[in-house]
Symmetry: C2
Subunit: 566 residues, 2 copies
């Protein structure tokens, strides 16, 4: 169960596919040259391969547990976390003013990808901190920034996100946690939160909770929600963690996977908190965290896909069964098909995730609204397709192992169990799809059509050189354009019925585009063969998905709950 960071894939993707050169050319990111990025990714790769990977199984076998009200983390996780923090890998993109490296989010995304592959459960801790850093950078007052950001950036302190309550999951606006002004500028936070990833740990000095709660004059729904920073230990005059705050971990959930990541039920009992942003404006800050986290979760799917692929490939190269030219099961056509599918889909999902990161970096560097719209449009696609791909690839990886895959010692099953949650948290994949066909088509399809224009222009340019690959991509894009037009013409509520197949159809076409670009960049390489595999065998899935997406809502909603009864 080793892991080798896919540095060649990152090199190809950044330099030839997702347009990272534009990022390097901006004034903001001029230091992020190809050489610098290469050096940084190599360094991160080393830490992931050598330190985090060997700890991954510990998280599964020795789950984080609650002991005397404190979380005890899995054996070795404290050392793993120290390596992440010491290397500066918690917050690669954080503002240098507060100790960050100020590197593009694209670099963070690639580093996260490798950390997920090597240890998803542990990496979820710094991933939460990354979201908190971004929320504080954008919305906190200067005092809070000065006090908290340096500690979070170094990883001395960890951050969490406290959104969900038992009756308020996807419907965040239904939350009932309360905030009362203490009269000294602080607030007393009271309520119960569930599904809090890394709600506590035993390796950082402090744990800082970002908590959504409602002030006494907050209206019902999302518009009455405010965001508070609630530290486990209240910083003293020297900024050191002092007095314990009135909050606790009530329990740690028994989950299907990521056992190394304690999922906590948190109780806030008049805990002292500090307002982040304006009163009643918590949702805006939450969306900052969520957008960051959605890309982070997309990459969890990609990272697990990569790891599951590598393990399945190693097994297929070693396992002898039946007569093949290669001497191992990799010689069987169906095993080859499974491995090629895994690799091709992982590539597509990674390309989409990195495209979001590039668009965000360009938006940050240039302030251009078009890049912002591109990032906003691609984010739900990256999240849903990335995580669905993680789930599918992990399952295929298990299948490659045959009977051994079902035996826990092999490790393939852990990936299946770990990655399953990624389709759920930070907005279920159904919610992502509703976001795509709802909010992200409110521009009348402008962002979508710009992407399709880009795809078709590229396919037209490639047509003379690789007609077999360029033509199907162009055709698929046209089909997608017509489907998008059909959706835009409908009421938003009618689009929801087909949101999921539309999102997946869009992702399939994007995958075709990125594979075509890879083939054009490396026409004589393995990339071109894999692109042909994807475009001829996997891309056709869009036909059924888009046919589904062109159906209306009435037929579906006409199937009543009674019709569904057994």
């Amino acid at each position: 169960m080793t892991y080798r960071a896919p540095l060649d894939d990152f090199r190809l993707l950044l330099n030839h596919i997702v347009g990272f050169d534009s990022v390097s050319k901006t004034a903001r990111f001029e230091d992020a040259t190809t050489e610098t990025v290469e050096a940084i990714l190599s360094e991160a790769a080393k830490m992931c391969e050598e330190v985090l990977t060997p700890l991954n199984r510990n998280g599964d076998l020795d789950p984080a547990v609650l002991e005397n009200g404190k979380v005890r983390s899995s054996n070795g996780f404290a050392d793993g976390y120290k390596a992440i923090a010491d290397g500066g890998w918690v917050a690669v993109s954080a503002d240098p003013e507060f100790g960050g490296m100020g590197l593009p989010l694209t670099v963070t995304t690639a580093v996260n990808d490798m950390m997920v592959s090597s240890n998803m459960a542990l990496h979820l801790n710094p991933l939460m901190t990354q979201g908190q850093i971004e929320a504080l950078e954008h919305h906190a007052c200067d005092e809070l920034k000065a006090l908290y950001l340096p500690k979070l950036v170094t990883g001395e302190w960890a951050g969490t996100m406290n959104l969900t309550e038992p009756q308020a999951g996807s419907d965040v606006g239904a939350l009932s946690s309360k905030a009362e002004p203490n009269g000294d500028g602080t607030y007393a936070i009271t309520g119960q939160k569930i599904f809090i990833s890394w709600g506590d740990n035993d390796f950082t000095e402090n744990v800082c909770h970002l908590v959504l709660a409602r002030l006494p004059d907050g209206v019902a729904g999302t518009k009455g929600i405010s965001l508070f920073l609630v530290p486990r230990n209240i910083p003293d005059a020297d900024g050191k963690p002092g007095e314990a705050n009135s909050l606790k971990v009530v329990s740690v959930e028994h989950k299907m996977g990521i056992h190394g990541s304690p999922t906590c039920v948190m109780s806030f009992e008049g805990a002292r908190g500090w307002l982040v942003g304006s009163e009643h404006d918590g949702m805006r800050a939450m969306f900052t965290m969520m957008n960051n986290a959605r890309l982070g979760v997309a990459v969890q799917g990609v990272g697990i896909a990569e790891r599951a692929y590598q393990q399945a490939l190693a097994y297929a190269n070693e396992r002898k069964q039946g007569r093949t030219a290669e001497g191992s099961i990799i010689g069987h056509a169906d095993v080859r098909r499974m491995l090629a599918s895994m690799k091709a889909d992982t590539f597509a999902a990674r390309a989409i995730a990195l495209s979001v990161a590039v668009a965000l970096d360009m938006a940050n560097a240039t302030g251009d609204a078009e890049w912002q719209a591109r990032a906003a449009f691609l984010t739900p696609i990256a999240k849903a397709f990335g995580t669905d791909t993680g789930i599918e690839v992990a399952n295929t990886g298990l299948q490659v192992h045959g009977g051994m895959g079902f035996i826990e010692e092999t490790g393939a099953a852990q990936y299946v169990r770990d990655v399953r949650v990624t389709a759920i948290y930070e907005g279920t994949n159904g919610i992502q799809a509703m976001d795509l066909v709802g909010r992200k088509l409110m521009d009348g399809g402008e962002a979508a059509y710009k992407l399709l224009d880009e795809i078709e222009a590229f396919a037209e340019g490639a047509r003379a050189i690789m007609p077999d690959l360029a033509e199907p991509v162009w055709q698929a894009s046209e089909n997608l354009r017509e489907t998008t037009e059909a959706l835009v013409a409908r009421e938003v509520s009618d689009r929801f019925a087909v949101a999921v197949p539309f999102l997946r159809g869009f992702a399939r076409v994007l995958g075709g585009y990125f594979h075509l670009a890879a083939a054009m960049a490396k026409p004589d390489g393995a990339e071109a063969k894999l692109a042909a595999f994807y475009i001829k065998r996997l891309l056709p899935e869009h036909l059924g998905l888009l046919a589904h997406a062109r159906e209306g809502a009435d037929d579906l909603m006409g199937i009543s709950p009674d019709d569904l009864a057994v």
Copy 2:
């Protein structure tokens, strides 16, 4: 976590969709009237709902373990097994000469479906016994039959299948277990077997192992393999379990799911065995077991899909989140889509499985080779599509639960973990697909074309009444016919590269046919609405699958192991 047996679905399927009336009309099965079958299924349903269902979670939480060389089963499983045995549910179709009910396999299939839904891990025990009974009925000598069958049929003794060895999984012919004649008509069996479901238990008097091994003069490969019956306790002169045989359970695997079913490593150390069938003819008997077992495993997929669906439906009806007309999340279009997909696919998978059973019953009752060919053709489709559907539906069921789905207490995750193995054992789904495009197309496509003729004739008859549904089914069938022709025209080895998408495409079209039949039978019912959902939204998946299936093998095999390296 209750379960309600889908008796209405069975009624519709048997009476209107899969042609069970033909079975009832045969002399062999003339007792299996509609009324009798209804009564039997109702009785089985009661046992499943009331006795087996409440024990299901015990199997997961209190796994079967090895204690002092003996398997200790999960809490309550002994009682559950007693209810199965006492009700006569072990072997509904066994020969009345040996105490069986002699009912059609179609009835067994429906009963198995319900037992799987209520407790897959426990039901795997009698499922193995069913396979053993069928193998002995067909291949054992009269003395073995007289001694063993009455005990197996009542469930007093249990049966197992010992095929796999560490180096001989899918490639059974590579096995190294040995059989030496003892000179008294018995044989000494020596070797290690792995992945033996219910290799031991603590609730039957005896456990009878069917073991594949090679005689001293057996040639290498599958043609040198013989089958032996090796009881844990050697029956004494009165047919009572006596002296312990030289065999033992070495260990019980730690698996992703079905924790209640002990998966054993077995060691045979000169154990006394009796030959079943002729020397070196073990593979033929094994195929009898395997064919039975493949249908049984298909139904494991269907049964778990049903259970996961019922739980997700109950959750969706109760869970409040966001504003909907229904007051619960079932009012959200995407939740409705998920539930409709689950129900529609479960129906399709169940119809395919029952069609196999009907074809086997007709073949048994009439000796007609055409029915035999139909059963043989449909079996790999039923197995692969049934289990893939089980996996997909269980995953969708988990998704309907949102964050709660990932928490083990909810139960949704258990279905995902339990059902995962069904795509692997009794021949991986890749092997099923290779069987379909290889052995099952060796007739030049005759069995396939007969099925397609039947589908198209039905669709033509339905066209005037339900053109919106009949036409897409007819078109899909034509597309499938062309794809089948393309495959038949190729070398068998070239078909393997696209075997999986071809099998799934075939299943999708069969599902369209059965849904169309349901709509025609119940034009004003929920069935017609669900059929429209399937045909318009899920059936189009065949477009991408069949496009994939029409691709050749060269492009795939041209992706070398080096091309796949990271």
